[in-house]
Amino acid sequence: NSQRPRPRVLLKAPTLAEMEEMTTSEEEESP
């Protein structure tokens, strides 16, 4: 059992649409 790799941690990701919203709002904030 000591040989068994430990489980990997799931990295939560935003959806593509959410990423789009985040970039848009960042662009709006910066002049």
Binding site: P5, A13, P14, L16, M19
Partner: protein
């Protein structure tokens, strides 16, 4: 006596380290400012492999914020470059190929046994250790779909203006012009003047160019097949829709020219090893329409033959073509109303769709089958032209 000490080079383990503050430079040099020809002669999908090696190092040092940040910056960078080059087939094919390759890498090196069956033991050493990037794989897959749709849109935009004149109007079979129906007038929705007509060779040249670009960029063969299936569907739909609306092309001679043109396209698919792509099947309604124009249309036996042949055309489409059919000369008769009634009676059991025209904008759902690479990460060389000297091999 001089003693020379030979220092053993540290083994490269297929990881790339960079300082967090260099992330923007990495994305700029590797994604947003990169011109595909810069990488000609190097391993296809090199940006995808470099990005994976960077992700792997961030995973190795257990830095989840660095992984998040790099993946988000990569995705946003790819979206930005595609938006800027939204009519550039080569650029779009390049990023479709790289996005799919990065998606394949995230699977192949995920540690999930289902994706590791073809890995060598060396490749298994290059798997992620700390993080499960399943959710990012979904984002990569969604992004690949977006890029594929952009690629199809560009290709369709280039082909669309050629279709009617190349498929229905251009006469490449010698002697056919002498047997055009009376009153035939050359015209095309795509033509402003006579100089804007196209022959089938123009379509084939354009498809050769698309094919060469996609192969050069190392796009997966299954995706190339789906691109051509989609393009052949559009050629079918645009040609058939025009045929269904134009009396002047509903003739025996157009049927013959059309069948010849389709056979040339089939030959092209075979020559490119794309005959298993399903592209020919999408042309079936047009193949049958060409045959319908050439079949005899007089006796009950002729009606029977038409009904058993034209299984991919709806009753409405068959009847429309028969109604539009224009005899070649005074020796050929018009299709009689009685003949059309016989056809309608024979086909009344069919549960055909009601619309006459095909949806030329219809798109088949795209699939990106997993395609692991045999390439070993530690064999990858980063060319100086990428200006990525700040990446440290680990």
């Amino acid at each position: 006596r001089q003693v020379t000490v030979q220092r053993k080079e540290k083994d490269f383990q297929g990881m790339l380290e960079y300082h967090k503050e260099d992330e923007a430079l990495l994305i700029r040099n590797l994604v947003t400012d990169l011109k595909p020809p810069t990488l000609s002669g190097t391993v296809p999908c090199l940006p995808a492999y470099i990005l994976y090696m960077c992700i792997r190092h961030a995973d190795y040092i257990n830095d989840d914020l660095k992984v998040h940040s790099l993946l988000t910056a990569t995705i946003n960078g790819i979206k930005k470059v595609l938006k800027k080059h939204n009519d550039d087939f080569e650029m779009t094919a390049f990023w479709l190929s790289n996005t799919c390759r990065l998606l394949h890498c995230l699977k192949q090196y995920s540690g999930d046994e289902g994706f590791m069956t073809q890995n060598t033991s060396k490749q298994n050493e290059h798997c992620l250790k700390n993080f499960d990037l399943t959710e990012y794989r979904q984002v990569m897959s969604d992004l690949s779909i977006q890029i594929y749709q952009q690629l199809i849109k560009i290709a369709e935009g280039a082909l669309q203006p050629m279709i009617v004149s190349a498929m229905l109007e251009n006469e490449s079979i010698q002697g056919l012009s002498g047997v055009k129906p009376a009153g035939y007038r050359k015209r095309s929705s795509s033509m402003v003047d006579g100089d804007n007509s196209y022959c089938l060779e123009a379509i084939i040249r354009q498809m050769n160019s698309f094919h060469a670009v996609m192969c050069d960029q190392g796009l997966d063969p299954e995706i190339i097949q789906q691109v051509f299936k989609q393009l052949f569907y559009m050629i079918n739909a645009v040609t058939l829709n025009n045929l269904l609306l134009r009396k002047d092309v509903c003739s025996w001679s157009t049927g013959m020219q059309l069948r010849y043109n389709i056979s040339q396209l089939e030959e092209w698919l075979r020559g490119r090893n794309l005959h298993q792509s399903g592209a020919v099947q999408t042309m079936e309604p047009l193949i049958q329409a060409a045959q319908l124009l050439q079949l005899k249309k007089k006796t009950p036996e002729d009606a029977e033959a038409i009904c058993s042949l034209c299984t991919s055309l709806s009753t409405q489409q068959i009847v429309k073509i028969l109604n539009l059919y224009t005899p070649l000369n005074e020796f050929e008769e018009r299709v009689t109303v009685a003949f059309i009634r016989t056809i309608q009676a024979q086909l009344q059991e069919r549960n055909d769709p009601q619309q006459l025209l095909l949806d030329s904008k219809h798109t088949f759902p795209v699939l990106f089958p997993f395609n692991p690479s045999s390439l070993i990460m530690d064999s990858i060389h980063i060319p100086a032209c990428l200006h990525l000297e700040f990446l440290n091999e680990v």
